[in-house]
């Protein structure tokens, strides 16, 4: 017990506290100026915009995947199930490398997409693609257990009472799944906001255009602008805390539904 708290304190709490303390040395006006430069604002906009789009894509396809995996039997189902975790297991640098190569004009997918005007590599669209990849398992993995424990009797009752399949889905199944889908969405979003490795390979990293917030921290650090880097880091850290609390609340809401 004591050991647990000690280790937790040394590895997690002291570093986080240290960062906040250093930023407290700044006056609020200085902090505000450093955290909201035009370049930083452009980076936040890209980071949050791309993360939202990626999490939304994952909410739709993740729900579909979970549904297909739980409800249907078809050849290759178990293989598909194992493959869903692939983005968790694959180092992000490798993900970024292979995605950038795929969507470049010479790549397997870019060969067909670039002539159509879909430029996936070295553009903001690339950021969305990378973030969709890294966040892919969250919604599916949150939803699967909920769907598995879902009672078929309720659906049967609805069918007996004359409800069509679509109506049953919209009025009975969808509301039950909503908390889990939202939890998965929030998890994917939180992961996407902090993601660095996969994005820098595919984004092109042009200031004001395809530069994400974590990358800007690294650039500030390489310029030896420590205070600038820390101000940005604190903004991201505060956002992570807010998301963490939101996720906890969502999970509590979801578990109330399950019982």
């Amino acid at each position: 017990m004591g050991y647990t708290l000690f280790y937790l304190g040394v590895i997690v709490l002291i570093p986080i506290g240290g960062l906040f303390l250093r930023v407290l040395d700044l006056s609020p006006a200085d902090f505000w100026r450093l955290a909201t430069t035009d370049r930083a604002l452009a980076a936040y906009k890209l980071t949050f915009g791309a993360s939202l789009i990626a999490a939304a894509i994952n909410a739709v396809f993740g729900t579909l995947l979970a549904w297909v995996l739980v409800r249907y039997h078809f050849p290759g189902r178990r293989f598909l199930d194992a493959l869903v975790d692939f983005p968790f297991a694959l180092p992000t640098a490798v993900a970024g490398l292979t995605l950038a190569n795929l969507f470049a004009s010479t790549g397997w997918l870019g060969k067909y997409l670039v002539p159509l005007g879909v430029n996936g590599a070295f553009t903001p669209l690339g950021v969305v693609i990378a973030l969709t990849f890294v966040g892919l398992p969250f919604v599916t993995r949150t939803l699967q257990p909920v769907l598995e424990s879902f009672e078929r009797e309720v659906e049967e009752a609805a069918a007996t009472l004359g409800s069509g399949r679509l109506r049953t889905f919209l009025t009975i199944i969808a509301p039950t799944l909503l908390p889990a889908v939202l939890t998965g969405f929030a998890l994917a979003f939180a992961r996407a906001v902090g993601e660095y490795g996969s994005v820098i390979f595919i984004a092109g990293n042009k200031p004001y255009e395809s530069e994400i917030a974590p990358l800007l921290i690294i650039i500030r650090l390489e310029e030896y602008d420590y205070t600038g880097a820390m101000a940005l880091a604190v903004v991201l850290l505060i956002i992570s805390f807010v998301l963490l609390i939101t996720i906890n609340l969502l999970e509590r809401w979801a578990s109330r539904y399950q019982n």
């Binding site: 078809f74 993900a95 969709t132 078929r152 049967e156 660095y196 921290i217 850290l237």
Partner: protein, 301 residues
């Protein structure tokens, strides 16, 4: 519920009209969309890694791997993993033990804190250690005076990796330990076993699959971590480049074959991780079934 009855009732209606199932057309449409999505977003990127790595033939692939700097990167990654995984293993077991078997105030806060590294951006995590140990940092002067290097050296990489992989073992173990309860330990203690004996003979065997699973995930993340390590490493070729950093450097040098060759090793690691994970889940399910068979039928509620 009578299986017979349902199936007869089902047979009585035409397939597409079943109340609790979609029509075959909708069903196969959904399956196809899911398969296409997975194919494009998961399978094609995976195959691409190996195709690109081998695009110039096996010989070029092999030469890329035996490059001295690449070999140094592989060695460093293995060293860092060998240090950080055991550290987090010990912590994970201790933390899960504390959370699952004891009642105390602030428990849910502790669980949230354990999860914290998951939600912190890796880049921010790396920066925190630069703030602590860097030359500008709290301990920077003190360390510099004693000629101890942490940032831009191997210890910094280890510390950053430990931070990032901190929650994995604990997170996998807590639900498993909570599910097994405390009755077996109490029985062992009543029969005269010491605390350690109980831990080794009763607690650990009951959670072995969860523990292994946690170690595998922790290991995969430790080897593949990029963002946090990138901030603290300093990118000194052959000295502080781990495998993922080596991938980036080769990519920036327009050495695609080299970058994909190192990437293919990491992709193999990911595949191995997935394979082991699937195997463990299967074993766990089988153990559970066996336990259900030997135990008296639990009452239905």
């Amino acid at each position: 519920m009578g299986e017979e009855g349902t199936s007869q009732w089902r047979r009585g209606r035409s397939k597409s009209q079943r109340g609790t199932e979609e029509s075959p057309f909708v069903k196969w449409a959904l399956i196809s969309v899911a398969l296409i999505f997975v194919l494009i977003f998961l399978l094609v990127p995976l195959l691409n890694v190996f195709a690109q790595a081998l695009s110039k033939g096996w010989r070029a692939y092999w030469n890329a791997l035996v490059d001295p700097d690449t070999r140094a990167a592989i060695r460093l990654t293995l060293t860092v993993t060998a240090i950080s995984v055991p550290l987090n293993l010990v912590f994970g077991v201790a933390a899960a033990w504390a959370v699952a078997k004891f009642q105390f105030r602030g428990k849910s806060l502790l669980v949230t804190l354990i999860d914290l590294p998951f939600s912190v951006s890796p880049v921010v995590a790396g920066l925190m250690f630069v703030v602590l140990f860097g030359l500008q940092g709290y301990f920077g002067k003190w360390l510099d005076a004693r000629d101890i290097k942490i940032i831009f050296a191997v210890p910094g990489i280890v510390i950053a990796t430990v931070f990032i992989t901190f929650p994995f073992v604990a997170r996998e173990l807590i639900p498993v330990m909570q599910a097994t309860g405390t009755e077996q330990e109490e029985a062992a203690l009543t029969l005269g076993a010491s605390g350690w004996q109980t831990f080794w003979r009763v607690t650990l065997p009951s959670v072995k699959w969860g523990l292994l699973y946690g170690i595998i995930l922790c290991n995969a993340r430790a080897m593949g971590e990029f963002g946090a390590v990138s901030v603290v490493s300093g990118h000194i070729t052959g000295v502080t480049d781990t495998m993922p950093l080596r991938v980036e450097k080769l990519y920036q040098e327009y050495n695609a074959t080299g970058a994909f060759a190192v990437a293919s090793l990491l992709a193999l690691l990911a595949l191995l991780t997935l394979g082991l994970k699937t195997l463990l889940e299967w074993k766990q399910a089988r153990d559970y079934e066996r336990a259900q068979q030997t135990a008296p039928e639990p009452e239905k509620t």
